[in-house]
């Protein structure tokens, strides 16, 4: 993992930033999110992929690409979480000071 992080730090940083941007937008986005049911299915799918990666059942380059994809997805999720959390903090502060939400 350390080797992957060192070798692909640029791509992981890009995924983190992408996630940060998406998380920032998601707090004030008014569209509909995915349903709980879809979330569960996606979570199970991702968990299955993680299990496949950990158990090394996918051989060769496909195995590497799976590891890379999961690492980038993980960085994306972290970025999303940080982005949403920070944006929520900004929105909450603005709401407390009387400014209309959705603008910063």
């Amino acid at each position: 993992m350390v080797y992957l992080a060192e070798f692909h730090w640029g791509w992981l940083a890009g995924s983190l930033l992408l996630g940060f941007a998406m998380g920032w937008i998601a707090v004030v986005h008014r569209g509909r999110g995915v349903t709980k049911r879809v979330m569960q299915v996606l979570s199970i799918f991702v968990a299955a992929l993680v299990v496949a990666a950990v158990t090394h059942v996918v051989p060769g380059r496909f195995g590497y690409w799976l590891d890379l994809g999961l690492a980038m997805f993980g960085a994306y999720l972290v970025g999303c979480a940080i982005g949403s959390w920070l944006r929520d903090m900004v929105v909450s502060r603005q709401a407390a000071s009387g400014e209309p939400p959705g603008r910063s």
Binding site: G19, G31, G33, F73, A81
Partner: protein, 463 residues
Amino acid sequence: MRGLFRWSSKWWPGVIPLVILWALAAWTTTGPLEADLSAHADAALKGSVLDKTTISAAGRDITFSAEAFSEQERSSALASVEAVPGVRLVNDHTALVAEARPFVWTIERDVGKVTLSGNAPLPVVRNKLLDAARAIFSGIDIADHMNLSRGAPPRFETAAALLIGEIGKLKTGKATMSDMTVTLSGMARELGGREAIAAALKNLPEGYSVTNDIHAPPYIFEANKDPVAATLTLTGYVPDNAVHAAIVASAGRKFGEKVVDKLKASLGAPAGFDAVVTRALGSLSRLSTGRLVVSDRDVELSGDALYDAAARQLRADLPKDLPRGWQAKLEVSVKPAAAPVDPAVCQQLFADLLGKRTIQFETGQATLDPDSIGLLDRLTETALRCPTATIEIVGYTDSDGDPSFNQTLSERRAQAVVDYLVKAGMPADRFKPVGYGSAQPIASNDTDEGKAKNRRIDFIVRQ
């Protein structure tokens, strides 16, 4: 936390550019990653002794194939590759190097090429043997057909290096080591090469056995008797300085002529060489003109005997006297008989012969010394030239010892000479043996030189 869950339902649009990013990352990093992991795996195997090593990467998985020289080496190499950072899986295609039974190694020298083949235990040993061969056969093409195998005998490298050195002494040849049995064949470059190699192979490590089938150029000794120049020329080889001196001294006693010594000392003489050469020189001394060639264990004697009976005796005696394994080839003819002379000339001829040399006997006995046989043949030839003369054979001794013993000894010695002459085919009544003991000395008996002169046989021709 609930907020995070709510917001996460709206994170999915970012997955689309993330997938694009992932595809780009996979596209651009796969090659460099595989190259990086292969290089690190190669570096991790630097200290391992392996054969036929190949490393290939597919993603983060390494396919590692190699042949190791021990199970410990194999598992250690595998662990080194598995420990390379970033490697996910190692596909283990390693095995142990095949074991050779028997473990055979060969070096073969042709005229312009040296070939090393068979089995070598380790790459480093193989390289050392090649280096040793290059050092010894500089300028000659070295072909390496060695395979790496397990199962080498103890101290293989020492034994093989020694054999490379010894094959360097051959014109052409081959050395094969099968486990601890060494077989050498071929032709040595120099006389004595076989013996030199046999001596060197005694330094093989303990437990090794050797079959030496090396041949060397023939070991030649040659003696040419030239009656015109009155010389005996010795050429060729003798085993050492002691034998050299003994042969030259023996030739001096047998021939009484000038010995031209061109002998050289060299190893490689067949067993019994000095005894055979001494015996064959005795036969040569009976020829008027002749040549003796001793080549390995073949003795060739050619020339002219002084009379018929001498030729017959030579043909019969020399082959019989040679040790087992020696061959004699005689081409002895008889010198045309010299013209008869009157008794006075005959007497002069006897005096000339006995003036230069004396007939020798065993000390205190009446047995003719083999060194005097050439002189006796010349005396016989002279006696044959005056067939009508009666000859008195007179024996004398020095003054040492009892006078009656000396008297008897001188008579017996004179009789021994008569017997020799009769054996040559002349009638016994032509010869009268007489002994005077120590009477009638011709020199002082006070010195060894004088005594030697007094111990003599004289031929006196009676009408």
